[in-house]
Protein backbone atom coordinates (compact mmCIF):
# COMPACT_ATOMS: atom_id res chain seq x y z
CA UNK A 1 0.00 0.00 0.00
CA UNK A 2 1.32 3.37 -0.97
CA UNK A 3 1.57 6.23 1.47
CA UNK A 4 -1.04 8.20 -0.48
CA UNK A 5 -3.49 5.32 -0.43
CA UNK A 6 -2.94 4.72 3.29
CA UNK A 7 -3.74 8.35 4.06
CA UNK A 8 -6.83 8.25 1.82
CA UNK A 9 -8.16 5.15 3.58
CA UNK A 10 -7.36 6.59 7.00
CA UNK A 11 -9.07 9.90 6.22
CA UNK A 12 -12.16 8.16 4.84
CA UNK A 13 -12.27 5.82 7.83
CA UNK A 14 -12.06 8.71 10.28
CA UNK A 15 -14.76 10.56 8.38
CA UNK A 16 -16.99 7.49 8.49
CA UNK A 17 -16.35 7.11 12.20
CA UNK A 18 -17.22 10.74 12.85
CA UNK A 19 -20.37 10.39 10.77
CA UNK A 20 -21.40 7.23 12.59
CA UNK A 21 -20.80 8.92 15.94
CA UNK A 22 -23.45 11.48 14.99
CA UNK A 23 -25.92 9.34 13.04
CA UNK A 24 -26.08 6.18 15.17
CA UNK A 25 -27.12 7.80 18.48
CA UNK A 26 -29.71 9.89 16.64
CA UNK A 27 -31.20 6.86 14.91
CA UNK A 28 -31.06 4.84 18.13
CA UNK A 29 -32.91 7.64 19.88
CA UNK A 30 -35.69 7.49 17.29
CA UNK A 31 -36.08 3.69 17.17
CA UNK A 32 -35.57 3.00 20.91
CA UNK A 33 -39.33 2.95 21.69
CA UNK A 34 -39.62 -0.21 19.58
CA UNK A 35 -37.60 -2.08 22.20
CA UNK A 36 -38.99 -0.40 25.29
CA UNK A 37 -41.72 -2.10 27.33
CA UNK A 38 -43.58 0.13 29.75
CA UNK A 39 -44.64 -0.74 33.28
CA UNK A 40 -47.41 -3.30 33.66
CA UNK A 41 -50.58 -1.45 34.54
CA UNK A 42 -53.61 -2.84 36.41
CA UNK A 43 -56.78 -0.90 37.06
CA UNK A 44 -59.87 -1.86 39.07
CA UNK A 45 -63.08 -1.74 37.04
CA UNK A 46 -65.70 -2.75 39.61
CA UNK A 47 -66.60 -5.25 42.35
CA UNK A 48 -66.81 -8.94 41.48
CA UNK A 49 -70.59 -8.91 41.92
CA UNK A 50 -71.04 -6.48 39.05
CA UNK A 51 -70.19 -9.05 36.41
CA UNK A 52 -72.30 -11.99 35.24
CA UNK A 53 -71.80 -14.94 32.91
CA UNK A 54 -74.36 -14.32 30.21
CA UNK A 55 -73.77 -10.71 29.26
CA UNK A 56 -71.05 -8.09 29.17
CA UNK A 57 -70.60 -4.94 31.19
CA UNK A 58 -68.79 -2.06 29.50
CA UNK A 59 -65.85 -0.59 31.41
CA UNK A 60 -63.52 2.29 30.55
CA UNK A 61 -59.98 2.44 31.88
CA UNK A 62 -56.64 4.04 31.09
CA UNK A 63 -54.35 2.06 28.79
CA UNK A 64 -51.82 4.80 27.99
CA UNK A 65 -50.93 7.28 30.70
CA UNK A 66 -50.20 10.95 30.24
CA UNK A 67 -52.50 11.86 27.35
CA UNK A 68 -55.79 12.28 29.17
CA UNK A 69 -58.96 10.90 27.60
CA UNK A 70 -57.14 9.88 24.42
CA UNK A 71 -55.26 7.23 26.44
CA UNK A 72 -58.44 5.54 27.63
CA UNK A 73 -59.81 2.36 26.14
CA UNK A 74 -62.99 0.34 26.49
CA UNK A 75 -63.40 -3.33 27.39
CA UNK A 76 -66.41 -5.61 27.77
CA UNK A 77 -66.12 -7.70 30.94
CA UNK A 78 -68.04 -10.78 32.07
CA UNK A 79 -67.52 -13.86 34.25
CA UNK A 80 -66.12 -16.90 32.50
CA UNK A 81 -68.70 -19.48 31.52
CA UNK A 82 -68.36 -23.25 31.88
CA UNK A 83 -70.96 -23.73 29.18
CA UNK A 84 -68.54 -22.21 26.67
CA UNK A 85 -65.69 -24.42 27.88
CA UNK A 86 -63.91 -21.75 29.86
CA UNK A 87 -62.12 -22.14 33.15
CA UNK A 88 -64.69 -21.20 35.83
CA UNK A 89 -64.25 -18.43 38.38
CA UNK A 90 -62.29 -16.14 36.05
CA UNK A 91 -63.20 -12.93 34.31
CA UNK A 92 -63.07 -12.28 30.60
CA UNK A 93 -62.26 -8.75 29.37
CA UNK A 94 -62.75 -8.33 25.62
CA UNK A 95 -61.21 -5.26 24.00
CA UNK A 96 -63.53 -3.08 21.93
CA UNK A 97 -60.77 -2.49 19.36
CA UNK A 98 -61.79 -4.08 16.07
CA UNK A 99 -58.93 -6.24 14.80
CA UNK A 100 -59.57 -5.17 11.23
CA UNK A 101 -58.21 -1.60 11.47
CA UNK A 102 -58.82 -0.52 15.05
CA UNK A 103 -62.29 1.04 15.04
CA UNK A 104 -64.36 0.67 18.23
CA UNK A 105 -66.78 -2.29 18.19
CA UNK A 106 -70.00 -2.37 20.20
CA UNK A 107 -71.60 -5.32 21.99
CA UNK A 108 -75.14 -5.58 20.72
CA UNK A 109 -77.17 -7.24 23.47
CA UNK A 110 -80.06 -8.31 21.24
CA UNK A 111 -77.80 -10.13 18.79
CA UNK A 112 -75.27 -11.27 21.37
CA UNK A 113 -72.56 -10.17 18.95
CA UNK A 114 -69.86 -7.53 18.73
CA UNK A 115 -70.42 -5.35 15.66
CA UNK A 116 -68.01 -2.86 14.13
CA UNK A 117 -69.52 0.26 12.53
CA UNK A 118 -66.66 0.93 10.11
CA UNK A 119 -66.52 -2.02 7.72
CA UNK A 120 -69.07 -4.44 9.13
CA UNK A 121 -66.90 -6.80 11.15
CA UNK A 122 -68.98 -9.16 13.34
CA UNK A 123 -67.75 -11.25 16.29
CA UNK A 124 -69.65 -13.80 18.38
CA UNK A 125 -70.23 -13.71 22.14
CA UNK A 126 -66.67 -14.90 22.88
CA UNK A 127 -65.15 -12.46 20.40
CA UNK A 128 -64.53 -14.96 17.61
CA UNK A 129 -64.89 -13.54 14.12
CA UNK A 130 -68.08 -14.61 12.37
CA UNK A 131 -68.23 -12.09 9.53
CA UNK A 132 -66.63 -9.18 7.74
CA UNK A 133 -62.99 -8.28 7.19
CA UNK A 134 -61.42 -8.94 10.66
CA UNK A 135 -58.50 -11.35 10.64
CA UNK A 136 -58.71 -12.90 14.12
CA UNK A 137 -60.87 -12.82 17.28
CA UNK A 138 -61.06 -9.66 19.36
CA UNK A 139 -58.13 -8.92 21.69
CA UNK A 140 -58.52 -9.48 25.42
CA UNK A 141 -57.07 -8.01 28.59
CA UNK A 142 -55.58 -10.00 31.46
CA UNK A 143 -57.82 -10.02 34.51
CA UNK A 144 -57.37 -10.70 38.21
CA UNK A 145 -59.28 -10.13 41.44
CA UNK A 146 -57.80 -7.96 44.20
CA UNK A 147 -59.76 -7.05 47.37
CA UNK A 148 -63.03 -8.01 45.74
CA UNK A 149 -62.32 -5.78 42.74
CA UNK A 150 -61.93 -7.06 39.22
CA UNK A 151 -58.77 -5.57 37.72
CA UNK A 152 -57.79 -5.47 34.07
CA UNK A 153 -54.17 -5.52 32.98
CA UNK A 154 -52.10 -5.78 29.80
CA UNK A 155 -53.65 -6.48 26.43
CA UNK A 156 -53.07 -9.77 24.60
CA UNK A 157 -54.26 -11.22 21.33
CA UNK A 158 -55.73 -14.66 20.67
CA UNK A 159 -55.63 -17.17 17.87
CA UNK A 160 -58.75 -18.36 16.13
CA UNK A 161 -58.95 -21.10 18.82
CA UNK A 162 -58.81 -18.38 21.53
CA UNK A 163 -55.30 -19.41 22.62
CA UNK A 164 -53.49 -16.38 24.07
CA UNK A 165 -50.53 -14.91 22.17
CA UNK A 166 -48.67 -11.66 22.59
CA UNK A 167 -50.60 -8.54 21.63
CA UNK A 168 -50.72 -7.85 17.91
CA UNK A 169 -51.94 -4.75 16.15
CA UNK A 170 -55.22 -4.81 14.25
CA UNK A 171 -54.92 -6.27 10.79
CA UNK A 172 -52.30 -8.84 11.79
CA UNK A 173 -53.15 -12.55 11.68
CA UNK A 174 -52.30 -14.81 14.60
CA UNK A 175 -51.43 -18.49 14.91
CA UNK A 176 -49.45 -20.85 12.69
CA UNK A 177 -47.07 -19.29 10.21
CA UNK A 178 -48.49 -15.83 10.94
CA UNK A 179 -46.61 -15.85 14.24
CA UNK A 180 -43.46 -15.49 12.10
CA UNK A 181 -44.83 -13.17 9.43
CA UNK A 182 -46.16 -10.81 12.10
CA UNK A 183 -43.56 -11.30 14.83
CA UNK A 184 -44.43 -10.26 18.38
CA UNK A 185 -43.12 -6.81 19.25
CA UNK A 186 -40.73 -6.35 22.19
CA UNK A 187 -42.91 -3.47 23.42
CA UNK A 188 -45.80 -5.82 24.24
CA UNK A 189 -46.28 -8.00 27.35
CA UNK A 190 -45.91 -11.80 27.27
CA UNK A 191 -49.18 -13.67 26.83
CA UNK A 192 -50.68 -15.08 30.07
Amino acid sequence: MTRRRAFTVAAQGLGGLAGAAIILPAVGFAVAPIFHRGKERWEGVGPVGDFVEDTYRQVVFTETEGIGDAGKTTAYVRMSSEELGEEPGKFVAVSNRCVHLGCPVRFVEAAGNFICPCHGGVYDFQGKRIGGPPVRPLDQFQTRVRNGQVEVGPRYSVTSQLEPVRARDPGEFTGGIWEYLYPPRPSTFPAP
Binding site: G66, G68, A70, R185
Partner: protein
Protein backbone atom coordinates in the same frame (compact mmCIF):
# COMPACT_ATOMS: atom_id res chain seq x y z
CA UNK B 1 -45.07 39.83 -20.56
CA UNK B 2 -43.70 43.33 -21.17
CA UNK B 3 -40.20 43.41 -22.49
CA UNK B 4 -37.64 44.68 -20.02
CA UNK B 5 -35.57 47.44 -21.66
CA UNK B 6 -31.98 46.39 -22.16
CA UNK B 7 -30.77 49.53 -20.43
CA UNK B 8 -31.70 48.21 -16.98
CA UNK B 9 -30.58 44.63 -17.55
CA UNK B 10 -26.83 44.12 -17.08
CA UNK B 11 -25.15 42.84 -20.19
CA UNK B 12 -24.55 39.29 -18.96
CA UNK B 13 -28.27 38.84 -18.17
CA UNK B 14 -29.60 40.09 -21.50
CA UNK B 15 -31.44 37.67 -23.69
CA UNK B 16 -28.91 36.04 -25.96
CA UNK B 17 -29.30 36.77 -29.65
CA UNK B 18 -30.96 34.08 -31.72
CA UNK B 19 -28.57 31.96 -33.72
CA UNK B 20 -27.97 33.48 -37.11
CA UNK B 21 -28.73 37.02 -35.96
CA UNK B 22 -25.97 39.28 -34.91
CA UNK B 23 -26.50 40.69 -31.47
CA UNK B 24 -24.39 42.80 -29.21
CA UNK B 25 -21.49 40.77 -27.98
CA UNK B 26 -21.75 40.15 -24.26
CA UNK B 27 -20.21 42.64 -21.89
CA UNK B 28 -19.66 45.44 -24.37
CA UNK B 29 -21.09 48.87 -23.77
CA UNK B 30 -23.67 50.04 -26.31
CA UNK B 31 -21.96 51.45 -29.36
CA UNK B 32 -23.52 54.88 -29.12
CA UNK B 33 -21.67 55.60 -25.86
CA UNK B 34 -18.37 55.32 -27.66
CA UNK B 35 -19.21 57.24 -30.79
CA UNK B 36 -21.22 60.01 -29.19
CA UNK B 37 -20.13 60.91 -25.67
CA UNK B 38 -22.90 62.30 -23.46
CA UNK B 39 -23.49 66.02 -23.83
CA UNK B 40 -23.23 68.41 -20.98
CA UNK B 41 -25.78 67.53 -18.34
CA UNK B 42 -27.21 69.40 -15.43
CA UNK B 43 -26.62 68.08 -11.94
CA UNK B 44 -30.17 66.69 -11.73
CA UNK B 45 -29.93 64.94 -15.06
CA UNK B 46 -26.70 63.29 -14.05
CA UNK B 47 -28.24 62.07 -10.80
CA UNK B 48 -31.28 60.78 -12.67
CA UNK B 49 -29.04 58.84 -15.02
CA UNK B 50 -27.13 57.39 -12.09
CA UNK B 51 -30.35 56.37 -10.37
CA UNK B 52 -31.49 54.64 -13.56
CA UNK B 53 -28.23 52.70 -13.61
CA UNK B 54 -28.40 51.68 -9.95
CA UNK B 55 -30.32 48.39 -10.35
CA UNK B 56 -28.04 47.34 -13.18
CA UNK B 57 -25.00 48.24 -11.12
CA UNK B 58 -26.20 46.18 -8.16
CA UNK B 59 -26.95 43.19 -10.36
CA UNK B 60 -23.58 43.51 -12.05
CA UNK B 61 -21.87 43.68 -8.64
CA UNK B 62 -23.55 40.42 -7.57
CA UNK B 63 -22.87 38.81 -10.92
CA UNK B 64 -19.16 39.63 -10.80
CA UNK B 65 -18.93 37.78 -7.50
CA UNK B 66 -21.19 34.80 -8.25
CA UNK B 67 -21.15 34.39 -12.03
CA UNK B 68 -24.81 33.49 -11.66
CA UNK B 69 -25.84 35.11 -14.93
CA UNK B 70 -24.68 32.22 -17.09
CA UNK B 71 -26.87 29.84 -15.12
CA UNK B 72 -29.78 32.26 -15.04
CA UNK B 73 -29.77 33.08 -18.76
CA UNK B 74 -29.50 29.38 -19.52
CA UNK B 75 -32.47 28.62 -17.29
CA UNK B 76 -34.73 31.58 -18.07
CA UNK B 77 -34.23 31.61 -21.85
CA UNK B 78 -34.06 27.86 -22.37
CA UNK B 79 -35.82 26.52 -25.42
CA UNK B 80 -39.13 24.76 -25.04
CA UNK B 81 -40.53 22.49 -27.73
CA UNK B 82 -43.33 23.44 -30.09
CA UNK B 83 -46.74 22.51 -28.76
CA UNK B 84 -45.93 23.29 -25.14
CA UNK B 85 -49.31 23.98 -23.54
CA UNK B 86 -51.14 24.56 -20.27
CA UNK B 87 -50.66 20.95 -19.15
CA UNK B 88 -46.98 21.78 -18.77
CA UNK B 89 -47.78 24.17 -15.93
CA UNK B 90 -48.96 21.40 -13.59
CA UNK B 91 -45.46 20.93 -12.20
CA UNK B 92 -45.12 24.62 -11.41
CA UNK B 93 -48.60 24.54 -9.91
CA UNK B 94 -47.54 21.71 -7.61
CA UNK B 95 -44.45 23.69 -6.62
CA UNK B 96 -46.67 26.70 -5.89
CA UNK B 97 -48.96 24.53 -3.74
CA UNK B 98 -45.89 23.36 -1.81
CA UNK B 99 -44.75 26.94 -1.26
CA UNK B 100 -48.21 27.84 0.05
CA UNK B 101 -48.00 24.87 2.45
CA UNK B 102 -44.52 25.88 3.60
CA UNK B 103 -45.43 29.52 4.22
CA UNK B 104 -48.76 28.88 5.95
CA UNK B 105 -47.17 26.03 7.92
CA UNK B 106 -44.47 28.31 9.31
CA UNK B 107 -47.11 30.75 10.55
CA UNK B 108 -49.33 28.01 11.98
CA UNK B 109 -46.33 26.75 13.97
CA UNK B 110 -46.25 30.12 15.74
CA UNK B 111 -49.55 29.31 17.48
CA UNK B 112 -49.74 25.50 17.44
CA UNK B 113 -48.75 23.51 20.54
CA UNK B 114 -47.71 19.89 19.80
CA UNK B 115 -48.96 18.50 23.10
CA UNK B 116 -51.72 15.94 23.50
CA UNK B 117 -53.48 18.06 26.10
CA UNK B 118 -53.13 21.41 24.32
CA UNK B 119 -53.04 20.62 20.60
CA UNK B 120 -56.82 20.65 20.12
CA UNK B 121 -57.21 23.85 22.15
CA UNK B 122 -54.43 25.59 20.22
CA UNK B 123 -56.07 24.73 16.89
CA UNK B 124 -59.39 25.99 18.24
CA UNK B 125 -57.64 29.20 19.26
CA UNK B 126 -56.09 29.59 15.79
CA UNK B 127 -59.53 29.14 14.21
CA UNK B 128 -61.56 31.27 16.59
CA UNK B 129 -59.35 33.96 18.09
CA UNK B 130 -56.21 34.59 16.07
CA UNK B 131 -56.61 37.33 13.43
CA UNK B 132 -57.08 35.61 10.04
CA UNK B 133 -56.22 32.33 11.81
CA UNK B 134 -59.09 30.48 10.19
CA UNK B 135 -57.92 31.63 6.75
CA UNK B 136 -54.31 30.56 7.26
CA UNK B 137 -55.36 27.24 8.79
CA UNK B 138 -57.86 26.74 5.98
CA UNK B 139 -55.23 27.45 3.33
CA UNK B 140 -52.95 24.86 4.92
CA UNK B 141 -55.72 22.29 5.32
CA UNK B 142 -57.27 22.61 1.87
CA UNK B 143 -53.93 23.36 0.25
CA UNK B 144 -52.79 19.90 1.33
CA UNK B 145 -55.55 18.31 -0.75
CA UNK B 146 -54.81 20.66 -3.64
CA UNK B 147 -51.15 19.66 -3.60
CA UNK B 148 -51.96 15.94 -3.62
CA UNK B 149 -54.44 16.40 -6.49
CA UNK B 150 -51.97 18.53 -8.51
CA UNK B 151 -49.14 16.09 -7.97
CA UNK B 152 -51.27 13.28 -9.43
CA UNK B 153 -52.36 15.44 -12.39
CA UNK B 154 -48.69 16.34 -13.00
CA UNK B 155 -47.81 12.65 -12.81
CA UNK B 156 -50.61 11.81 -15.26
CA UNK B 157 -49.39 14.48 -17.70
CA UNK B 158 -45.87 13.07 -17.52
CA UNK B 159 -47.15 9.55 -18.05
CA UNK B 160 -49.56 10.21 -20.91
CA UNK B 161 -47.11 12.51 -22.73
CA UNK B 162 -44.41 9.86 -22.44
CA UNK B 163 -42.17 12.36 -20.69
CA UNK B 164 -40.78 9.71 -18.33
CA UNK B 165 -38.80 7.99 -21.09
CA UNK B 166 -35.09 8.24 -21.83
CA UNK B 167 -33.28 10.35 -20.73
CA UNK B 168 -35.75 11.45 -18.04
CA UNK B 169 -36.25 8.18 -16.10
CA UNK B 170 -34.33 9.47 -13.09
CA UNK B 171 -36.59 12.49 -12.90
CA UNK B 172 -39.61 10.17 -12.85
CA UNK B 173 -38.03 8.26 -9.95
CA UNK B 174 -37.36 11.48 -8.06
CA UNK B 175 -40.95 12.51 -8.74
CA UNK B 176 -42.27 9.26 -7.31
CA UNK B 177 -40.18 9.76 -4.16
CA UNK B 178 -41.62 13.28 -3.93
CA UNK B 179 -45.12 11.81 -4.25
CA UNK B 180 -44.42 9.38 -1.39
CA UNK B 181 -43.00 12.18 0.77
CA UNK B 182 -46.07 14.30 0.03
CA UNK B 183 -48.33 11.44 1.13
CA UNK B 184 -46.22 11.14 4.29
CA UNK B 185 -46.76 14.86 4.89
CA UNK B 186 -50.51 14.43 4.45
CA UNK B 187 -50.53 11.43 6.81
CA UNK B 188 -48.47 13.04 9.59
CA UNK B 189 -50.24 16.39 9.26
CA UNK B 190 -53.64 14.76 9.70
CA UNK B 191 -52.95 13.81 13.34
CA UNK B 192 -51.83 17.26 14.46
CA UNK B 193 -55.27 18.83 15.25
CA UNK B 194 -55.73 15.86 17.60
CA UNK B 195 -59.50 15.72 17.34
CA UNK B 196 -61.58 12.55 17.07
CA UNK B 197 -61.28 12.42 13.31
CA UNK B 198 -57.51 12.81 13.20
CA UNK B 199 -56.96 10.46 16.14
CA UNK B 200 -58.91 7.58 14.60
CA UNK B 201 -57.62 8.23 11.09
CA UNK B 202 -54.08 7.91 12.45
CA UNK B 203 -54.99 4.74 14.35
CA UNK B 204 -56.31 3.20 11.15
CA UNK B 205 -53.37 4.50 9.08
CA UNK B 206 -50.78 3.11 11.47
CA UNK B 207 -52.60 -0.22 11.57
CA UNK B 208 -52.55 -0.38 7.78
CA UNK B 209 -48.77 0.14 7.97
CA UNK B 210 -48.65 -2.69 10.50
CA UNK B 211 -50.16 -5.21 8.11
CA UNK B 212 -46.91 -5.35 6.12
CA UNK B 213 -45.34 -8.75 6.86
CA UNK B 214 -42.31 -8.99 9.16
CA UNK B 215 -41.40 -5.29 9.26
CA UNK B 216 -44.96 -3.99 9.59
CA UNK B 217 -45.34 -4.46 13.36
CA UNK B 218 -42.01 -2.74 14.01
CA UNK B 219 -42.91 0.09 11.65
CA UNK B 220 -46.10 0.62 13.64
CA UNK B 221 -44.15 0.77 16.89
CA UNK B 222 -41.72 3.22 15.32
CA UNK B 223 -44.53 5.52 14.15
CA UNK B 224 -46.32 5.39 17.50
CA UNK B 225 -43.10 5.47 19.54
CA UNK B 226 -44.56 2.58 21.54
CA UNK B 227 -47.29 -0.05 21.55
CA UNK B 228 -50.14 2.46 21.76
CA UNK B 229 -50.80 5.84 20.20
CA UNK B 230 -49.72 8.33 22.85
CA UNK B 231 -48.12 11.64 23.68
CA UNK B 232 -44.84 10.78 21.97
CA UNK B 233 -46.72 9.84 18.80
CA UNK B 234 -47.90 13.42 18.39
CA UNK B 235 -44.42 14.89 18.99
CA UNK B 236 -42.99 12.38 16.55
CA UNK B 237 -45.55 13.14 13.84
CA UNK B 238 -44.98 16.86 14.41
CA UNK B 239 -41.20 16.50 14.01
CA UNK B 240 -41.58 14.37 10.88
CA UNK B 241 -44.20 16.75 9.48
CA UNK B 242 -42.32 20.00 9.92
CA UNK B 243 -38.62 19.13 10.13
CA UNK B 244 -37.72 15.85 8.48
CA UNK B 245 -39.90 15.58 5.38
CA UNK B 246 -39.98 19.26 4.30
CA UNK B 247 -36.17 19.31 4.16
CA UNK B 248 -36.14 16.19 2.03
CA UNK B 249 -38.89 17.59 -0.23
CA UNK B 250 -37.03 20.88 -0.77
CA UNK B 251 -33.80 19.05 -1.62
CA UNK B 252 -35.56 16.71 -4.04
CA UNK B 253 -37.51 19.55 -5.70
CA UNK B 254 -34.10 21.14 -6.35
CA UNK B 255 -32.84 17.96 -8.01
CA UNK B 256 -36.13 17.56 -9.91
CA UNK B 257 -35.95 21.07 -11.35
CA UNK B 258 -32.26 20.84 -12.11
CA UNK B 259 -32.99 17.82 -14.29
CA UNK B 260 -35.94 19.56 -15.97
CA UNK B 261 -33.69 22.47 -16.96
CA UNK B 262 -30.77 20.23 -17.84
CA UNK B 263 -32.72 17.81 -20.02
CA UNK B 264 -35.43 20.13 -21.36
CA UNK B 265 -39.09 19.24 -21.72
CA UNK B 266 -40.70 16.97 -24.25
CA UNK B 267 -43.03 17.96 -27.04
CA UNK B 268 -46.59 16.63 -26.81
CA UNK B 269 -46.89 13.21 -28.41
CA UNK B 270 -49.16 14.56 -31.17
CA UNK B 271 -46.52 16.99 -32.44
CA UNK B 272 -45.39 16.20 -35.98
CA UNK B 273 -41.71 15.70 -36.42
CA UNK B 274 -40.43 18.59 -38.48
CA UNK B 275 -37.03 19.40 -39.81
CA UNK B 276 -34.91 21.03 -37.16
CA UNK B 277 -34.30 24.67 -38.05
CA UNK B 278 -30.59 24.39 -37.43
CA UNK B 279 -28.71 21.53 -39.00
CA UNK B 280 -27.11 19.19 -36.52
CA UNK B 281 -23.34 19.24 -36.87
CA UNK B 282 -22.05 16.00 -38.28
CA UNK B 283 -19.88 15.47 -35.22
CA UNK B 284 -23.00 15.20 -33.02
CA UNK B 285 -25.01 12.96 -35.29
CA UNK B 286 -23.97 9.71 -33.64
CA UNK B 287 -25.18 10.86 -30.23
CA UNK B 288 -28.59 11.85 -31.54
CA UNK B 289 -29.01 9.07 -34.03
CA UNK B 290 -32.34 7.94 -32.60
CA UNK B 291 -33.72 11.44 -32.73
CA UNK B 292 -33.64 12.22 -29.02
CA UNK B 293 -30.92 14.80 -28.63
CA UNK B 294 -31.85 16.40 -25.34
CA UNK B 295 -30.34 19.75 -26.31
CA UNK B 296 -32.54 20.00 -29.38
CA UNK B 297 -35.69 21.57 -28.01
CA UNK B 298 -37.96 20.49 -30.85
CA UNK B 299 -37.21 16.79 -30.58
CA UNK B 300 -40.19 14.50 -30.04
CA UNK B 301 -40.29 11.99 -27.16
CA UNK B 302 -38.76 8.74 -28.25
Amino acid sequence: MPKIPDSIVPAPLRKPAKPGQSGDPKGQAPADLKTSPPEKQTHVERLTDQAKDAPADVLAWVDQRTAASGFLTGMLYRKVPKGTNWFYTLGSATLFAFIVQAVTGVFLAMFYVPSTTQAYASIARINNEVFLGQLVHGMHKWGASVMVILIFLHMGRTFFFGAYKYPRELNWVIGVVLLILTMLMAFTGYLLPFDQRSFWASVVGININGTGPVVGPYLSDFLRAGPELGATTLSRFYAIHMLLVPGAIIALIGAHMYLVVKLGTTAPPWTKIGKPKIATPVSQLDAGANGSTPTNGASPPS
